[in-house]
Amino acid sequence: MAATDRAAKRRARRRLRKLRDLPWLATGIGALAARDAAGQTSVDSKFLFYKESGGRTQVLNPVLLLQQDLGENAGELSLLLGYDAISGASPTGAYPTSDVTTSASGHTIASGSFPQAQYTDARKSASLSYGRKFGAHLPSIDVSYAKENDYTARAIGLSDSWTMLHGLGTLHFGAAFSRDTVSPVQNPETNPDGLDLNYHKDENGFSLGWTQVLGERDLLDVSASLMQLSGYLTDPYKVVPIGADKSQTVPEQRPDTRSRRALVVKYGHHYLWDGALRVIYRYYNDSWSIQAHTLEVTYDQRVDSDWIISPQVRFYTQTAASFYASSFTVPQTYMSADYRLAPLGSILAGLTVARVIDHHLTLSLGFTYQSQNGRDRVVPTGMLSPPEEGLIVRPVSAADMSILTIIGGLSWRP
């Protein structure tokens, strides 16, 4: 049974988008300069190893980006291919218990921690884009397709960058439409007859932003985005504990619409000693009452003309969805105990080292370590009630975990 972790997929999608921002990442500034690479191919490949603590989700994700300049003002074509091997376990939403249980397998990991479900999945994705310069505009179109065991995603996007003010300012805007199909088969609890079910999810997204060159060495970008989701937004593999003793569970149910809004401010500064500072702040809120703040600071330092060292730190915090609770005394229309909708915060620290070899090839290796903590903490039920004398019972949260990522990259520029 494939109980896939949607957040892992979203992260994968964000990583794909980040890869397109490569010029910004590599030089720290000046993403607007046109490339003089007529008729030539650029290759970027990245390999991501992602691992959550406690035997949870682990992802191996190789990605390949090929960009072909079609020469003579004919534009540029790019192809992005990705493969995710996802495995591990994910909390089901059931209440933690310190009871020991006997079962036919290690499927439920209990004893003071959260029951989890094991899964493995493989995701293949491909995205094709075409962009071409028309005067001050740089419109582009992209189509993408991704397939997993129980999930298919199709999307199309259109965007434009309009350079104004003699190159000092750029208006960028875009729209993306996607239609995903979820087919949760093989789940005996919610689909006991093994019927082939297909649920759909539509996502329509719009973004608008302005990039302003503030001086010789400063860049500011402000953008806003809106995403409307409708359709099947529930996780078919998650449950919610109900009742006074919290041992009863029912499948979770989320609303069938979601409106997501974000405001992002990016600032970049280039220092005379070949260093660059990038600061990104993001404010997010949605119609599920979740509000989140992200602050990310990265510093790139070029050393000896061949090496680039980039330390990074990121802070994140979010509030809970209006229908989230670790358990419900009485069932409600919308309920979820998914820790990803819970109030939580995280701190990430990372370091990437890149080496430029003969102007064409760049190799990079990066590590990040993230510590995430949930603010909605609960005491496991079971064994220790009534608690024994002098025993300290620590409340736990399913959001508590640490995440390690290792990213290796190889880029080739003509």
Partner: protein, 302 residues
């Protein structure tokens, strides 16, 4: 694993680490997924040559063969070859011909145990000790804890449990039995009175539903098809190994014969949950569980 120990955090960590190392050793040694395991070596040499094994492996093979006799051939450590016909991940049901083609390779009598060697007489045969290895690992872990002087513990690996003593305050350990049709709930709990092993055999670990019929991975070796009638059976015995053998045996025998086997076996108690959800328990379970009629009935929170 949980244990009560008053010698401090350092000792507890050291003991926990030793148990973990031992569990991994057993997993690596008997896993059919690892090329370097003893089991893989025996399988590679099927039909060719006997493989020399140590006392531990020899014992496990012997127990697996005894279990085959106990279940009239329904349990068979060589049933693994049928994996080639079934695909539980993709939900593929094999044809009768595919099963028949592999049946000659499922034959415990073709497993030759002689002078500390194990030989699979027909090429293509495979032996799998996973069915008895897990419980063995739990018992070894419990033995380690006993040797370290721990008087009160409960060890659980992949659903097989071994208890030592009782909880710190004298109350018996409480081990919930997972509902085969809803992994987030327990149907009842076992309350072992002294050191005991508790094992469960069930149809819900791996499987799929096709055309309304549930196909699970515990195959009756005589037919090649999933055993029917029982959703899960939980057995309490002196060791997890003994409990595991009887759990698998009674699962494969079906509700009536399975319950009879448990009733007649000495120092073994258990309860079956049938496909319809009914719980059938041996007479000794009234002392050892919170099933209706038992001493612990109604003591959910105790």
């Amino acid at each position: 694993m949980q244990f009560v120990d008053d010698r401090g955090r350092q000792t507890a960590s050291r003991i926990a680490r030793a148990v973990e190392i031992e569990a991994r050793r057993i997993e690596t040694k008997f896993s059919r997924y690892r090329d370097t395991s003893v089991v893989s070596e025996i399988n590679r040499n099927a039909g060719r040559t006997p493989v020399a094994v140590d006392g531990e492996t020899d014992d496990l093979v012997r127990c697996a063969l005894e279990l085959t006799d106990l279940t009239g051939g329904r349990f068979d450590p060589t049933v693994g070859v049928l994996r080639r016909a079934w695909d539980f991940k993709a939900g593929k049901v094999p044809t009768g011909d595919e099963i028949d083609a592999l049946r000659p390779l499922v034959d415990a009598s073709a497993v030759s145990r002689r002078e500390r060697t194990v030989f699979l007489r027909r090429a293509g045969m495979e032996i799998d000790l996973g069915g008895v290895g897990k419980e063995y690992a739990v018992d070894r872990a419990a033995r380690l804890l006993r040797e370290e002087g721990v008087r009160s513990a409960v060890v659980s690996f992949s659903g097989d449990v071994r208890t030592i003593g009782s909880r710190g305050d004298g109350r018996p350990w409480k081990v919930g039995v997972v509902d085969p049709r809803n992994r987030n709930r327990c149907r009842f709990a076992v309350r072992p009175l002294s050191d005991a092993g508790i094992a469960t055999s069930g149809d819900y670990e791996r499987g799929f539903v096709k055309d309304g019929v549930r196909y699970h991975h515990i195959l009756d070796a005589r037919t090649g098809w999933p055993a029917r009638g029982v959703a899960s059976v939980t057995v309490v015995a002196a060791t997890a190994f003994r409990a595991g053998c009887y759990a698998t045996a009674s699962f494969l025998l079906g509700p009536a014969a399975g319950l009879t086997l448990l009733e007649n076996a000495e120092d073994v108690e258990g309860a079956l949950i049938t496909d319809e959800g009914e719980i059938l328990a041996t007479s000794g379970m009234w002392l050892l569980s919170d099933l209706p009629g038992g001493v612990w009935e109604g003591c959910r929170e105790a």
